[in-house]
């Protein structure tokens, strides 16, 4: 039972993080390698803010969302848009966006590492103490509950938006064929900006929630999370919201299981194994309808 709580809260952090990554990749074709850096930067920004003044946790969450959204939007406008404008082909753009993302990620991480002297940082300065409830012998903290609620809300809202609204339809059509979508009068750039801002905001929220949950994170936490999120997205299928949800909780369950069965050293390899297995056995993922481009 205690494991179930761990799976729920870990999977929810993955979900908040991976939702934006997956949506951006599935619709506007941008796999943002700086997504992990946004996650860390939002938590770090809150940490710096707390040095200046006391703030309650809900305000911190809003600040984190704003930091994440702003950073993500800036990356889109200053880097990814520029790369796309200059790229000769779709494939060249893909490669350069990946590399540009790696480069952009180095900037805030270098800044945070420099200021924190590579040490882990937390949000204890907010004076926030998570209340812990014991239900039938299982311990649940208020932060874990908040994480699960936020992730469920975000996933449901996003799924509804993509499925049921006109704008969501426009966004999905970009993922299928952006040239035809452009002919239908869909402004790709505007949608790209909005998508990236939302993705960044969700990553920022995940950053603060995970930091509160673990007590502290370090500037390098973003890289590992990025690969894990990629594993979740690939497992579920690119562009499928239900797929991402299933992928995230599958990964969380596998990791918690490995953690209880072995010494903690092999946990990191779970996500790599999943990436390999899925790409070999079912490249489009569980819920994916898109065929992976064959060579």
């Amino acid at each position: 039972m205690q494991e179930l709580v761990a799976i729920a809260s870990l999977g929810s952090v993955y979900l908040l993080f991976a939702l934006g990554l997956s949506t951006a990749w599935g619709t506007i074709g941008i796999l943002n390698f700086a997504h992990g850096a946004i996650f860390v930067s939002a938590a770090y920004g809150c940490y710096e803010l707390l040095e200046v003044r006391q703030l309650p946790v809900p305000v911190l969450a809003v600040v984190a969302i704003l930091i994440g959204a702003t950073m993500s939007l800036l990356m889109q406008v200053l880097v990814f848009d520029q790369v796309r404008r200059r790229a000769t082909s779709e494939r060249a753009a893909e490669t350069r966006i990946l590399i540009g993302g790696i480069g952009v990620a180095m900037l805030p991480i270098a800044l945070a590492s420099h200021q924190t002297k590579n040490l882990a940082f937390g949000l204890s300065a907010s004076g926030f103490e998570a209340s812990i409830w014991t239900v039938g012998g299982v311990r649940v903290s208020s932060i874990q509950v908040a994480t699960v609620v936020c992730a469920a809300g975000a996933a449901a809202a996003l799924a509804w938006y993509l499925r049921r609204t006109r704008a969501g339809l426009a966004l999905r059509s970009l993922g299928v064929d952006d040239q035809v979508a452009a002919l239908m009068g869909i402004d790709r750039r505007r949608y790209a900006w909005a998508t990236m801002a939302v993705a960044g905001g969700l990553a920022g929220l995940a950053g603060v929630l995970l930091t509160l949950n673990l007590g502290a994170i370090s500037a390098e936490s973003g890289d590992a999370l990025l690969i894990k999120a990629f594993a979740c997205v690939v497992l579920g299928g690119v562009g499928s919201t239900v797929g991402v949800v299933v992928g995230c909780f599958t990964l969380a369950a596998s990791e918690v299981w490995v953690l209880t069965q072995t010494s903690g050293m092999w946990v990191e390899a779970v996500s790599f194994g999943i990436i390999f297995a899925v790409l070999l056995l079912r490249p489009q993922g569980i819920f994916g309808r898109q065929e992976v481009r064959r060579v």
Partner: protein, 312 residues
């Protein structure tokens, strides 16, 4: 000169290793295979060579060969498994491979020294052998950039379907990319261990992927000269940029972003363009009269492949 050389020996060695590591990613890129598995091969070569020297007391040259071949064999196996993937999926699968090597190294017990690593790997490696190896590799890579083979490689990268229709075995070329990448990566890792006499988890980290990609993107992705330019630049930059010592990572990130946006062909490509422009400016030529036919375009990959077939 010799005093300068002696005091910067470590940097010279690091540059040579960085060239090989960059090539292990650049060679598959030139074939249109976006594989970053060279970094995992680097880790394999680094640990295999340490074990060969510490347990078997092997000499430098056989260690280099065995490390390279082991990494090449793993590369072939990986290639057989994932050569169908393309683009981002391939990149991420190979990054997963690199990180898997890292996890194995962490859990390897006595074979890898776990989080501590292995130390005291001393061999009879000379600078002459190190230089000779790198020069030999560069010559071999250069041979793939001239003449008939170069045209085939370009076609496989730019238009695999066309290449296949011209009778080029695209699959064989792709698998070869994995094997060559494995061998070069393994060789680079082995030489890194032999020059540093130690190996640790820093030799199998994600950071190396960033370093290798940075080297190629800034130097130039389509020629070994680009790899050399990038390796020299990024190995020597920290010692030149003493001022920004603690901001090194930040500066690197900035350089990578700018290169990704503005330098599609890297510094070497920029140099080629500038040279071409200068030559064009220098050459006096009659001004084309309006209505005369346009200047012939450079032959495309397709035309090159057609000539190729016609020549047979």
């Amino acid at each position: 000169m010799s005093a300068f050389y002696a005091s910067n020996l470590v940097l010279v060695q690091a540059t040579l290793v960085a060239i090989l590591l960059a090539l292990s990613i650049q060679v598959p890129l030139r074939l249109g295979v976006f594989s970053l598995a060279g970094v995992g091969s680097y880790g394999i070569g680094a640990y295999v060579s340490a074990n060969l020297v510490l347990r078997e007391e092997m000499g430098a040259l056989p260690t280099m060969l065995v490390s390279g071949l082991v990494a090449a064999a793993v590369g072939l196996l990986l290639g057989v498994i994932i050569y169908r993937l393309a683009g981002l999926y391939l990149a991420m699968a190979t990054i997963a491979f690199d990180l898997t090597v890292g996890v194995v190294a962490l859990n390897g017990g006595d074979w890898t020294g776990g989080p501590v690593g292995l130390f005291g790997v001393f061999t009879n490696l000379t600078m002459g052998l190190l230089f000779g190896t790198v020069v030999l590799v560069l010559v071999l890579v250069h041979l793939t950039e001239v003449g008939r083979l170069s045209r085939r490689i370009t076609t496989v990268r730019e238009d695999p379907e066309l290449a296949a229709s011209m009778g080029v075995n695209v699959r064989a070329y792709r698998l070869t990319a994995f094997v060559v990448s494995g061998f070069l990566g393994g060789l680079a890792g082995c030489l890194n261990t032999l020059t540093r006499s130690a190996v640790g988890l820093q030799d199998v980290s994600f950071h190396l992927v960033v370093v290798a990609l940075t080297t190629i993107i800034v130097g130039g992705a389509l020629s070994w000269r680009g790899a050399v330019i990038g390796a020299v630049l990024f190995t020597w930059l920290p010692s030149v940029l003493e001022v920004v010592g603690e901001w090194q990572e930040f500066v690197y990130g900035l350089i990578v972003v700018l290169a990704a946006i503005f330098l599609p062909t890297g510094l070497y490509g920029l140099w080629c363009s500038v040279r071409r422009w200068l030559v064009d400016r220098m050459r006096p030529r009659p001004r084309p009269r309006p209505g005369s036919e346009p200047r012939p375009e450079a032959p495309s990959a397709a035309a090159a492949a057609e000539q190729e077939v016609a020549a047979r």
